[in-house]
């Protein structure tokens, strides 16, 4: 950890990364091919007829794909826990929004006053 020469005591400059191994570099090609494989699977699955099964398969695969991109392409795997917490909070808050709003949107019977 070197200290910025002109600012004794100023610690923040140390975070300029020391190339090239400040985080891991997975085999990107392998990840990419996996993603393509999953993607092909999604398209095939969407040809099925039961919408519920399609939903679960397709959405499940989307989550896997998103996680792969997050973990390896975006190097989340090597990022500090702080960032995991931040992304987790974002998802948690969306969950709250979904749960809190659900009873007032989905099961509600619509009724329109007939036009005079």
């Amino acid at each position: 950890m070197d200290i910025h020469s002109s600012n004794p005591g100023l610690e923040h400059e140390v975070v300029v990364p020391k190339e090239p191994d400040y985080h891991g570099h997975p085999n990107y090609l392998k990840i990419y091919l996996t993603l393509l494989g999953l993607f092909a699977l999604t398209v095939v699955a969407s040809l099925l007829h039961n919408p519920l099964i399609v939903f679960f398969i397709v959405f499940g695969i989307s989550i896997i794909k998103g996680t792969l991109v997050l973990l390896y392409f975006m190097h989340l795997k090597w990022e500090p826990t702080l960032i995991w917490i931040m992304l987790g909070l974002a998802l948690l808050i969306l969950l709250f929004l979904f749960i809190g709003t659900y009873p007032d949107i989905v099961p509600v019977q619509r009724y329109l006053v007939p036009k005079a």
Partner: protein, 565 residues
């Protein structure tokens, strides 16, 4: 970096990269907005108490004017004063210097956020001068009304007709303001995490830095859905997407959910930075460590998470599922607990202290007292869903949120200004005028807001231009209450001119502050010259002590600067 050059007007007030200058730009812009909001308040309060009178400086108030005045008063005070003052101004002035660094992590981003903020202000002001007049739909912008006559019932209007309306401009202004605050928030967060002085661990940060950052993150997470919602409302107005149009299966309640999903955490976004400011001031002025630093921090984090689960208490009677309302009621009542803990910790700081009744301390004590006694406790009334059936949308609610927001936002800001003014300008504020300002504000704020409780209990509903149509609201003491409230509000507004005069005069002519550390405080901003040079510190501090180590038994003086060796 430390060479301080004299800059011209434009350089200082428009192109500066220095966090203090940008903070000052924000502050001046917000003073401008507040004066508009305050003027609006004066006009409609006068109209309420004396309905047929031509209000001086405005003229006769029609129903349309009245709706426009209350709407824009609310929007300006909530969005520009409260959020701007406590996130942008406090963050810009305090964060870099209190964590002992030279500037923000991204100074240019900081400058751009101010420009976007300025753009939002311009759009907001422009909305008053649209061909159909200002927006008059209530600051919550509930859709079928805020979509205006662009909905199902009316024939198609040209794009220009739709775009050049107050509705579009206000929504754009809000969107830009959120963008600005989000950019600023990212900047503060990164600055706090990455640029702290050597030795300043997270638990040695002053409470206000913590609070601003928690508020920022809370803002960032809760505002997202509303940004999407604002985008959708804009499209509803301008291209007719119909997201909130019941006649196309849309739902006005969706907006209410999105709005309050941000709107309630916003209350805590607004509340947390002043709580941090109060922590600083109370601790310094009672010469004692802040009681339970980690305890306060934990409670704040709990409250921040809880605050995203309580939003629907603004909608108890808005047609939401009553069973869901019960759940929200429980969470609402529970969220009073962490704040009770925080306030008690502040009071515990006072106990056995060596109190100094300086001006900032008076503001701080006033804020704690009013916020707890009349703001917080009436929150219990409204959080209990049953009484909310009656009190919702009455003056009781108005009084309640003025008692929560005014002590925190206004008292907190004034406490901060009286506390840090000498650091920021190198001059002292006039104490006599300051005392006068405090007492007038304190007394007449109560005089204005307390009658509203009684009016609300008598069943006075909100946002009515002329109460004479409702006989039960004209029975005997009620018009008197309205007059008391109005006269107090007018004096309250007038007494702010004392402050304005004091501020401007002291900035130019005030007594020179001879000491760098007049309050004998610990935190780092007091350990540099007043005003701080560009780059804040001549020698960057190395932190050895916590922020609140007053009266350590092993020291000779009763304070221990954080960077003392």
């Amino acid at each position: 970096m430390n060479t301080h050059k004299k800059h011209g007007f434009w350089h200082r007030y428009f192109f500066s990269l220095d966090h203090k200058d940008i903070g000052f730009q924000y502050m001046l812009t917000i003073f401008f907005m507040v004066s508009i909001g305050g003027f609006f308040a004066y006009v409609f309060r006068m109209h309420l108490a004396f309905p047929d009178m031509k209000v001086p400086l405005f003229g006769l108030v029609t129903n349309k004017d009245y709706n426009m005045l209350i709407t824009n008063h609310g929007l300006i005070m909530m969005m520009w004063l409260a959020l701007g003052m406590l996130l942008a101004v406090a963050g810009n002035f305090l964060i870099p210097i209190m964590i002992g660094t030279d500037d923000m992590a991204f100074p240019k981003l900081n400058k751009i956020s101010y420009w976007i903020f300025l753009l939002s202000v311009i759009l907001m002001i422009a909305s008053f001068f649209m061909p159909k007049g200002g927006l008059g739909v209530g600051w919550t912008l509930y859709p079928p009304l805020s979509v205006g006559d662009f909905g199902y019932n009316t024939p198609y209007k040209s794009f220009a007709d739709r775009f050049f309306t107050a509705n579009t401009f206000v929504l754009l202004a809000i969107a830009f303001e959120f963008t600005s605050l989000l950019m600023g928030g990212i900047n503060f967060f990164v600055t706090t995490l990455n640029k702290r002085a050597k030795g300043m661990s997270l638990l040695k940060m002053p409470m206000v830095v913590w609070m601003i950052n928690i508020a920022n993150l809370l803002f960032m997470f809760s505002v997202g859905p509303l940004v999407a919602g604002t985008f959708m409302l804009l499209l509803d107005i301008n291209v007719g997407t119909g997201f909130y149009d019941a006649y196309r299966g849309g739902d006005p309640l969706l907006w209410e959910h999105l709005f309050w999903f941000f709107g309630h955490p916003e209350v805590y976004v607004i509340l947390l930075p002043p709580l941090g400011i109060l922590a600083e001031i109370i601790s310094v002025n009672s010469r004692k460590p802040l009681f339970g630093y980690k305890f306060i921090l934990t409670l704040t984090l709990i409250a921040a998470v809880l605050s995203t689960m309580v939003w629907a208490h603004h909608q108890f009677v808005a047609g939401i599922d009553p069973r869901a309302a019960t759940v929200f009621s429980i969470f609402t009542i529970i969220i009073s607990l962490p704040f009770a803990g925080i306030i008690l910790a502040y009071i515990a700081t006072l106990w056995k202290g060596d109190l100094r009744f300086t001006l900032p301390m008076k503001w701080a004590l006033g804020a704690v007292a009013l916020f707890t006694l009349l703001g917080g406790f009436t929150g219990l009334h409204l959080g209990a869903s049953v009484f909310d059936i009656y009190a919702h949308d009455t003056s009781f609610v108005v009084a309640h949120f003025h008692y929560t927001l005014f002590p925190t936002v206004i008292f907190g800001s004034f406490a901060a200004i009286y506390f840090w003014f000498s650091k920021f300008s190198g001059r002292k504020l006039n104490q006599t005028l300051g005392n006068l300002h405090f007492w007038l504000t304190f007394i007449f704020f109560n005089g204005f807001a307390f009658p509203l409780f009684l009016l609300g209990l008598a069943g006075q509903h909100r946002r009515i231009a002329d109460y004479r149509q409702f006989e039960f609201l004209m029975q005997d003491p009620l018009p008197l209450y309205r007059k008391i409230a109005t006269i107090s509000a007018v004096i309250l507004i007038l007494s702010q001119f004392i402050f304005l005069f004091n501020f401007i005069w002291s900035l130019k002519r005030g007594k020179k502050e001879t000491e760098d550390n007049p309050w004998q405080a610990n935190t780092l901003e007091w350990q540099t010259s007043s005003p701080p040079p560009h780059g804040n510190f001549k020698v960057y501090p190395v932190v050895n002590y916590g922020p609140y180590e007053y009266n350590r038994p092993d020291k000779d003086k009763d304070f221990t600067p954080q960077n003392e060796i």
